[in-house]
Symmetry: C3
Subunit: 143 residues, 3 copies
């Protein structure tokens, strides 16, 4: 976690754009949330015309982002702040190119999460710091 699912019109972005967007998103979590980079999943769906609609109209200049976060009990102000940070970071790829975009996010239960069969260590723990430094999961030694 987090997992980003991003719907874009086919041919709106190059491969390099998608790589750059994935990097920007991953950088945000590393910088602000201090989680291991490998926690961040980004999926792109490049939708052919007629497979993505906004308001009943086939979308050609529309990016639709769906974020799933494990619950962190973000308060509303922090959520708004976070959306603003995202907005600024992605502007070169979305707003500055004249695209419309919509983002919504959900929060999912912490216990219902596993990486390589392990319950990820508590946020801020020594175990998590090791995973972060290594940028890969490894056997957990704490209970």
């Amino acid at each position: 976690m987090p997992m980003w699912t991003i719907y874009v019109p086919e041919n709106a972005y190059t491969r390099q754009d998608l790589q750059d967007i994935a990097n920007v998103i991953t950088d945000l979590y590393e910088k602000y949330v201090k989680i291991p980079r490998f926690y961040v999943s980004v999926v792109f769906h490049e939708q052919p015309t007629g497979a993505l609609f906004m308001g009943g109209v086939p979308a050609v200049d529309f990016v639709r982002i769906w974020i799933d976060h494990v619950v962190r009990n973000l308060d509303d102000d922090t959520t708004t702040l976070w959306l603003g940070i995202i907005d600024t970071a992605l502007a070169p790829f979305i707003r500055d190119r004249g695209f419309n975009y919509e983002i919504h996010g959900d929060e999912t239960p912490l216990p219902f999460w596993a990486i390589n069969g392990m319950t990820p260590p508590p946020h801020g723990s020594e175990e998590e710091k090791r995973w972060k430094a290594d940028n890969r999961p490894s056997a957990l030694t704490e209970a």
Copy 2:
């Protein structure tokens, strides 16, 4: 919001069918929920045989719908009523063609939602009415 993700078997529907389904869904929200049409996103995934399973069997006559709504605190009776309205509206495309279908929906936190970098105006507000009349977002002047 709302966002509909619809899985259909490849070749089950024409492009026109998908357009018609997107229109029907968008019309429902405009008519019953009184939100701007452009709030409604519909994504279709046309799954090749062997990429969509119902009960472990490759689905050829199965439509799987996943709806995400921003929380409106729908009570259970309203949810049931809404599912009935959806069912009737989509019958010409699903039930009447002999397809099986399953729908589930989730409700996601209102603060975790943005359109073109803006927090959408409160439901029923003058700002929302303007967005609805224009069928596009515009700068917000209220706090």
Copy 3:
């Protein structure tokens, strides 16, 4: 319900693998949760390189699983147990092949669920037993 959305790298699995994975998942719910097999939806997205990222890196050996369950009020211990059962069952397809994988799940409201236009019968009811035995939905006679 449940609905599993599984992102895999393109060419990581054969058609038969996907069929086998769908069967394993469906078997787990039949065996442990005692629900009708046809309740279980599994969607595979075979992502081309550069359309699935883990930690900003195009994923070639990464499987990302997203599970939606209708709310059953699973306690944390049961959730952990369930993730362990899943992990063991899928190991031949994921861990034993050297893939990294991440799973997260969400729980969605029970009233916001319908199959073929019907509210599925209560868990453990006679109606559900009939649906399970028939492995298909049929008209409900109870209130």
